[in-house]
Symmetry: C2
Subunit: 137 residues, 2 copies
Amino acid sequence: MSDCIFCKIIRKEIPATVVFEDDDVLVFMDIGPIVKGHALVTPKKHYDPITETPDAIVAKLHLTAKRVAAAQMNAFGADGVNIMQNNGAAAGQEVEHIHVHVIPRFSTDGHHWNWNAKKYDDFSEMNKLAEDLRKHL
Amino acid sequence: MSDCIFCKIIRKEIPATVVFEDDDVLVFMDIGPIVKGHALVTPKKHYDPITETPDAIVAKLHLTAKRVAAAQMNAFGADGVNIMQNNGAAAGQEVEHIHVHVIPRFSTDGHHWNWNAKKYDDFSEMNKLAEDLRKHL
């Protein structure tokens, strides 16, 4: 898409620090890293969100993320890795071109996700949501 | 693994609210949801972390997550979805059996990830990390 910043990066109209590319995907450094070494995996063709992205591309993005995670562990000695794919502004997505965040994590990195787990009022509330999901799968 | 809580769920030794299952994967409700409707996708065989998980399973987990995301949008009217896979205690992983979080998001849900983006001191710092990654890909 002409005004998509990731499409511009892919077309080399905007510079980026590329880590890997092939016919399908581009991997480049996130300039605003959660933890330094944070990389993004994105398809060369414009798709968004994941539900509109072909299965072969969804698989390729995540297999590439796996490779990047291994490289972060081996290159940086990362203790762990977050792999995160956000869909929609409500989910915190900023660029509307599907991308997978691959974030190297260290026990000393100081980042702690605000994992604010809620509680269901009762099991019937959870079971009702599960039933709704089953009907749509 | 005998003492893995997800293996126990898969063997039906511990109850869970199952949304979907086939020969490879189990999808069930997270009882501590970030947002109500939060589901987990996990392989029936024990693997961990993603770097030790076969490519076919990594692909299957994320294609299943895509389906669950679509179901959350269609069933709940979710405005967005977070798909997150944490590797290692340093990354916030609690159960050491690979799993993908699929979290329905609503513009009104009140959750905001603490996306504390850092800055590189300069481009050479980022370029050095990218170079290290390239060598290990």
